[in-house]
């Protein structure tokens, strides 16, 4: 039959099941989406949300079950089928080519590959029209490589609207936005929904789910465990559904801050290879205190992390370590100075995927502790790795397997063990829980709490404002490489921090150059 009646769902998933080897990613998942409705797909990392969307988009073929769009069964394994039927997706990691302009990115693939021309004038006019109608301001002529994260997200949404998407799927869309930008996104979505669009909103941020969705579908370990109206639902209730059991997060008793262990005085860096460097940053890290760094990604967190990790040096300004100026700053000196570094990307920076657990365990200390005169001492190294595995509860079949085969949580535990074993004075934790499940999150936070209690100075960098506010004794906000003043625990509301994240409140520094 042509067309869908008013009561018929625009999207229906029926009994979707998918295995990866022994792992069940989706287990009999069914739900409906109706015209002009926003539903939230809620679940932890690894609950099966991404797999489900990949099946909808034909990237994977389901072992069982089927997808219907506007009443028509979708042929499995055909990536174009869902797109052609009017489903658009905004991925968590943007699917844009930085070397192309905005309009080129938007028209990519629209006319197939055989059309003789791109008809740029027509495309650009249509994009301008759409961006006005949905308040998605962006210039079609600029190269995507030069856009901010927020602008790129707008391009992604425009891409879907350009294809006349009737259903829009957004995967963790707010992870890269300030609270204010999130509000703007929600306004755009409400407007689109009023015009008949349907939205699937994938997230694990409960307050956002409650704010935008009318219905919520909760996934846990690949199964649909609950489906309910958001009206009347509470955050606690949804959290319990998502995690499956009450989990107790570690608590942070107030402490008396100790002496300053690391101090930046008016530091500016070039931020080589980063979106932005640091601009005239002054910062004190005190013993027994967690200093949180909030901000939208790409605003200088990487530059600050590189600086403290030893990968970068101040172009101007000074960095003091325990009252002294370190000479020849490098990762090796940072390690020697007792700085524990938990890198942002544990797969590519923190570990070597094809090295085994022993080799990864001694990556930072092989020269000082596990070798003599240039000869490796593998016996000691193996014993050390074994100790770490026991003490930090790294679940693995053997210390001789490649670390690639470990889950993210276990990988992070090995890194934690590696850097915390020497009872470091300073800890740099850059996005330490990103992508981990709740159990591992609490474990990592617990370790940071313990280190704080024993007198370590911790710098916690995170894009998750909740995490920052829960753990930090003082909070700084970073925006375009500038650092806000220190805010004590509990003195700032999220919206106030959000204003700083958006760049408001900074005194424009007098430009020397």
């Amino acid at each position: 039959m042509e067309g869908a009646g008013p009561a018929q769902p625009v999207l229906r998933l029926t009994d979707i099941t998918k295995h990866f080897g022994p792992v069940v990613a989706n287990d009999g998942v069914s739900f409906d989406l109706h015209r002009g409705e926003v539903i939230a797909l809620l679940g932890e990392n690894g609950a099966g949300k991404t797999t489900l969307m990949n099946i909808l988009f034909g990237q994977y073929t389901a072992d069982a079950g089927y997808v219907e769009l506007f009443g028509e069964r979708l042929p499995p394994g055909r990536p174009r089928a869902a797109l052609d039927a009017g489903v658009g997706m905004v991925h968590q990691h943007f699917t844009l080519a930085g070397n192309l302009t905005v309009w080129e990115n938007i028209v990519l693939g629209v006319d197939g590959l055989t059309a003789p021309s791109l008809r740029p004038a027509k495309a650009k006019a249509r994009i301008r029209d759409l961006s006005e109608r949905f308040h998605l301001k962006v210039d079609p002529e600029v190269r995507v490589g030069s856009l901010t994260v927020g602008e790129r997200q707008r391009v992604e949404i425009l891409k879907a609207l350009y294809r006349d998407a009737k259903i829009l799927i957004l995967d963790e869309p707010t992870a890269v936005l300030t609270p204010q930008e999130t509000d703007a996104l929600f306004a755009t979505l409400r407007q689109a929904v009023a015009q008949g669009l349907s939205v699937v909103f994938i997230s694990h941020k409960l307050h956002e789910v409650l704010a935008i969705a009318s219905r919520v579908v909760v996934l846990r370990h690949g199964r649909l465990v609950a489906e309910r109206e958001t009206k009347g639902a509470t955050r606690e209730e949804l959290a319990a559904l998502m995690v499956g059991a009450e989990v107790t997060a570690p608590s942070f008793e107030p402490t008396v801050p100790g002496p300053v262990l690391l101090s930046l005085k008016n530091v500016t860096t070039t931020g080589e290879g980063r979106a932005t460097g640091l601009r005239d940053v002054s910062l004190d890290l005190r013993a027994g205190q967690i200093t949180g760094l909030a901000g939208v990604s790409g605003n200088g967190q990487g530059a600050l992390s590189d600086l403290i990790a030893g990968l970068d040096s101040p172009a101007s300004g000074e960095m003091w370590l325990a009252g002294a100026l370190p000479r020849h700053w490098s990762p090796r000196t940072a390690i020697a100075e007792g700085i524990a570094r938990i890198p942002e990307d544990r797969h590519h920076t923190g570990t070597i995927a094809d090295f085994n657990l022993v080799e990864n365990a001694v990556l930072e200390t092989y020269r000082t502790t596990y070798s003599t005169g240039g000869w490796m001492n593998w016996t000691d190294a193996r014993r050390f790795a074994g100790d770490l595995i026991d003490k930090y509860d790294v679940r693995c079949p053997s210390r001789n397997i490649r670390i690639r085969l470990l889950s993210g949580g276990n990988m992070q535990k090995l890194i934690l063990g590696r850097v915390l074993e020497g009872e470091p004075r300073i800890i740099l934790a850059n996005q330490p829980v990103r992508g981990l499940d709740i159990g591992a999150v609490n474990y990592v936070h617990g370790q940071l709490a313990e280190a704080r209690a024993r007198g370590a100075a911790v710098l916690l960098i995170s894009e998750d404002l909740d995490e920052i506010q829960r753990l930090s004794d003082v909070i700084h906000v970073i925006s375009e490489g500038r650092l806000s003043p220190a805010f004590a625990r509990g003195t700032m509301k999220p919206e106030e921090l959000g204003a700083w994240m958006a760049g408001h409140g900074f005194k424009e520094t007098t430009h020397a150059a």
């Binding site: 990866f20 080897g21 994977y60 073929t61 394994g77 990790a309 030893g310 990968l311 490098s330 990762p331 090796r332 940072a334 390690i335 570094r341 890198p343 590519h348 920076t349 923190g350 570990t351 070597i352 995927a353 094809d354 090295f355 080799e359 990556l363 930072e364 092989y366 020269r367 070798s371 240039g374 000869w375 490796m376 690639r404 085969l405």
Partner: protein, 349 residues
Amino acid sequence: MRLEPIEAPGVARRVLPPALAIVATFVVAAVLAMIAGGDPLRVFGEIVKGAVGSKFALLETLNRATPLIFTGLAVAVAFRAKLWNIGAEAQLYAGAVVTVVLGTGALTLPAPVLLPLIGVAAALAGALVLLVPAILKTRFGVDEVVTTLLFNFIFLLFVSYLLEGPLKDPMGMGWPKSPRLIDEARLPRIVEGLRLHWGFALALIAAVAVWVIQTRTTLGFEMRAVGQNAEAARFAGMPVMSVILKTALLSGGLAALAGFSEVSGLKGSLTLDLSPGYGYTGIVVAMLALLHPLGVVVAALFVAAIFVGADSMSRAVGVPTYLADIMLATALLLMVLAILLTKFRVRRD
């Protein structure tokens, strides 16, 4: 199509793909031999006979394997650290040139002093030849594949100039050829009367030494780490640039020893056809050995046997010797695919 990593590959998984790659290589060779009018069984029979069928054949194979062990090690060491040294050919000639410069009478010392001296100097020369592309890589980010390849052409022209100019043999009747080495600069035979020189033993020692370096020393640990993931190595405090340069020195030095060993042990003088592409064949050797230094010895023997066997096969059956080159290139491509298939499974979804 999608590749899915296999967590714990079984025995069949680890053995079957490489075995099939070898079989497929021989099938390809058989078909090509038939096209050339040869009976495949006879062709393979002649190759085996020519490679290991007599004492003379066997010694010839060991002699041919010697430079291949050196260049194979040079490539294996460099590739392990993801330094794509395709210039072993140039480094080999650098070693040969130094051997000729020092070994034709410029130094008159007793052999036990002169030989090690020349060996070390040759290795240094090869190391320096690779150091240039390595510095271009670390300082300017210039891809070393192209620079090392281009260096091969440059260096061969340089050798051509030397052989027609400063290093030309006055008694050579006009041929571009160097004078012969003095006796003290010649590597002696391992056993008197057998045509096998100490270069082969040196190659075996080099293989063991490289293996020890890679598995037992901090430098080896660093070289492997930089090759697997330079970013993580840098984060962990390893001096990545200096590790790459050290790798280049080691790799270039090993390749140069092939030139030293060929001139001093086998030929006695330098001509422009000293190496029939040993530098390039070293890549095949290293890949067939999965970059393992001890595997290089086995792979070099295998490759040498095919070359030596193909020469005598060609004389007997009339199928062109290039069949050997085809077999090795095919084996190389199929082997890298086979190794992948021991670790990943192909999925259709």
